[in-house]
Amino acid sequence: MNIVVLLKQVPDTTEMKIDKEKGTLIRTGVPTITNPDDLAGLEAALKIKDQQDASITCVTMGPPQAESMLRELYAMGVDACVLISDGKFGGADTWATSNTIGAALSSMDYDLIIAGRQAIDGDTAQVGPQTAEKLGLPQITYVDEILEISKEKIRVKKALENRYEIIESDMPCLITTLSTIAKPRYMHVKKIMEAFDKDIRIIRYDDLNLDPMTIGLKGSPTKVKKTFTKEVHKNSDILALDPKESARTIFDMLLTHNFIGKKEASYE
């Protein structure tokens, strides 16, 4: 079975700094990580490979430095890595991104494509389903568990707001995974050494037959008009009281606003 996993290298948003004057991100010095939902999806693929004959190809689209992420994935035990990278692809929205990834994948051999539900930089959750659409594949999003898989069928548990659905799809198919699907394994010491000798296939603009008006910043229907950071504006009383007075303060507030009524009298 051939499994393709889509991953993205993202800035660690918990370490993010903002230039409040300009309303922009300060990108220098922010560590990059492999997007957590994607890494969980990769682990789900590795678990399939632990149990049956499977080959895993990791595909990412990004600047040349995304290579460092792919080396780490080799050290986790994947079979091949592909980097889709070209200046012409930069600044793409999800529509243009999925045009590019879709074109790159169309010549590959796959039974299952796994993408993380969403990336922590954009939080859109759109590239997975839109890539499925470009490839004409059925999709199952928000997958929490893979229950059964063969070359013909996949059965999964999908998480919704207040319920789970057990869903089956014919293969080939694309699923998007939640970070809860699996806890990523560590890199293998021996494989870390080997990872630096592995090939990374680079796909550039010239390798794909793409209409330039459907890719990159120029081909993106949605554009960022402006960015800004939030102003915090509440007038706060910050009080340092002893615990009893603090409790009393909250109680008074709740009582004044009628949040604590007298317990209903009961007539039994």
Binding site: T94, D121, Q126, Y164, S169, K230
Partner: protein, 341 residues
């Protein structure tokens, strides 16, 4: 593409188990607000609902803001299918030419909208928290869509100048639904559709309900929320919440540490809540958390660190240990409740 052929605001109505999802009513309210703010466009608000809803359900959409209700009608549509819904809505968009198409950013909406946008070759903005028409041109129907990114650290305003419809998913719990008004006038446009011929490779085999007793925190009046500072003492919050009649929620840190279920997470990657009172205990106030609770009517923050960012968003900030203060609060309320008069 002639953009002038496209008009009106269409709202996708999420409907299952004979219930209209609240997020769809919020979108109707927002669509009405948009059309009223730019009357010169003469746009109508059009609700799109699939399946065989009752007459009462269709009327409800009118009472909540729709000028016209399009019902794509077929018995099989009561169960959602990505492929079937995408195919039918793509046809609807090609014939009706909506200028704006809004979808709630629920799990269903975020499965459907990207697929649909890719099929009808238009742009899509995800999880918006604010909509307005181009503020610099009073005759413009260009939608300015604002959404958080980078974990809520940054906001971006997104426009789509080249393709139609202007499509966006909207975060549940952010927009306001209109009060029910039974005097509103509206029309119902029922269209028989034939999904049998659509090839679908995906089947729902079973539905498992999560804890049916679990309260939806988005609907709570009072929330007591805990962060990393609470550690494994969430029972202290729960005792106090039971006494007040509040719900317990948590920050991402608390959820990541396994102290409380993901369903009760408040923040950018959790739920957006706007209760009457939000009591934040041991929560430092990361931007991504504030994005989910700052619209609460009244915010009380308890934190040991006087410089915690949460205080900048709170109405009352108390420097101290929530684990000491909450049991005393529980006791205060108990004595009040048990007073003899």
């Amino acid at each position: 593409m002639n953009k002038n052929e496209y008009r009106d605001i269409y709202v996708f109505i999420e409907y299952h188990d004979h219930t209209i999802h609240d997020a769809s009513l919020e979108l109707l309210g927002e669509a009405v607000r948009l059309t009223e703010n730019r009357k010169s466009l003469g746009y109508s608000v059009i609700a799109v609902i699939l399946g065989e809803p009752s007459e009462d359900t269709l009327h409800e959409l009118g009472y909540r803001g729709a000028d016209r209700i399009i019902n794509l009608s077929h018995a099989s549509l009561h169960t959602y299918s990505t492929e079937v819904y995408t195919t039918l809505l793509d046809e609807l968009i090609r014939t009706d030419k909506p200028d704006i198409f809004l979808v709630p950013a629920t799990v269903l909406g975020r499965d459907l909208a990207p697929r649909l946008a890719a099929r009808c070759d238009t742009g899509l903005t995800a999880d918006a928290t604010r909509l307005e028409f181009d503020p610099e041109d009073e005759s413009s129907a260009l939608l300015y869509v604002t959404r958080p990114a980078f974990g809520g650290n940054l906001f971006g305003t997104i426009i789509n100048e080249t393709k139609r419809p202007q499509m966006t998913t909207i975060r549940p719990g952010v927009m306001d639904a209109l009060p029910r008004d039974t005097s509103r006038e509206f029309t119902i446009d029922r269209r028989e559709v034939h999904p049998e011929s659509i090839r679908d490779y995906v089947r729902i085999l079973d539905v498992l309900h999560k804890n049916p007793m679990a309260m939806d925190i988005a609907k709570a009046d009072i929330i007591i929320s805990g962060g990393r500072g609470v550690g494994n003492n969430f029972h202290v919050l729960r005792e106090c919440a039971d006494m007040i009649g509040a719900e317990v929620a948590g920050s991402r840190a608390a959820v990541d540490e396994g102290r409380i279920d993901k369903e009760f997470q408040v923040g950018q990657t959790g739920k957006t809540v706007k209760p009457k009172v939000y009591i934040a205990c041991g929560i430092s106030g990361a931007v991504q958390h504030m994005a989910g609770m700052e619209k609460s009517d009244f915010i009380i923050a308890i934190n040991k660190d006087p410089d915690a960012p949460i205080f900048s968003a709170s109405n009352i900030g108390l420097v101290g240990d929530a684990l000491e203060i909450l049991p005393l609060l529980t006791q205060e309320i108990r004595s009040y409740r048990e007073r003899p008069y």
